[in-house]
């Protein structure tokens, strides 16, 4: 399956993601999940699955004053409009963790 995971927390959920198997895996950081994208905050103690496509929601970075310059290069910064296109066009199932 092509699976899109919304990761909304930064202190839980990584164990679930590590077990998930998907032909195509997308991870979209939202809410407090966005701290995972700011590599130099050292809040991330976990490695994202190697083949995952990684995205982070711009609005939730900016609300928390996380500058785009802090975002690790493997993440694509996206908007709500981009999310709609991703879930309808690129993935089949979506889950919220």
């Amino acid at each position: 399956m092509k699976l899109c995971v919304f990761m909304s927390e930064c202190r839980s959920g990584s164990d679930l993601i590590d077990r998930l198997e998907a032909e195509k895996l997308g991870i979209i950081l939202v809410c407090n999940g966005v701290y995972h994208a700011a590599a130099d905050y050292e809040i991330r103690s976990w490695l994202f699955p190697k083949n995952a496509h990684l995205y982070v929601l711009a609005e939730d970075l900016e609300s928390r004053a996380i500058e785009t310059s802090r975002v690790a290069p493997e993440f694509r910064v996206i908007t709500y409009s981009d999310i709609v296109d991703l879930i309808f066009n690129e993935y089949e199932k979506t889950i919220w963790i």
Partner: protein
């Protein structure tokens, strides 16, 4: 005339939040969803407990006695009584040293015949692949 399968995946501990209870009660409501659907169409749920979620499956929950609310145990039994498919991750039971004897496996005292399935994570993953939509709680 078609059937859609929905996977209700329960990863949360019981009682502190209402996530796990809502998962089971939503799954059960599949039985009456037909009133909104075309003739012959139906929704078939599968309920899977993984991670911390397996703690929902321990027998002997006394939430009615102490807090006046139906236990998650009772909801799981109701699901089994309606012949819903209930899967419990065997690796996670082992990890938390929850014995199989302690796990809710049937609703036989209410006349139910369907048993819960203690399954490997691989089998649960197969179900996740097979269903039409996934709902994590």
């Amino acid at each position: 005339m078609s059937k859609k399968r929905l996977g209700f995946i329960i990863k949360s501990l019981p009682y502190k939040t209402e996530a796990s209870k809502l998962a089971v009660t939503h799954a059960i409501s599949s039985q009456t969803a037909e009133i909104y659907l075309e003739d012959g169409d139906s929704v078939e749920p599968v309920i899977c407990f993984i991670g911390d979620g397996v703690f929902n499956c321990i027998k002997g929950q006394q939430s009615m006695k102490h807090y006046g609310i139906t236990s998650i145990e009772q909801h799981i039994k109701n699901a089994l009584l309606l012949d819903l498919k209930v899967m419990i991750c065997s690796e996670d039971l082992e990890k938390f040293r929850i014995k199989k004897e302690s796990v809710i496996m049937d609703a036989s005292e209410m006349g139910g015949e369907t048993l819960a399935i203690i399954a490997s994570y691989t089998e649960i993953q197969k179900e996740m692949n097979a269903v039409d939509h996934l709902l994590f709680f």
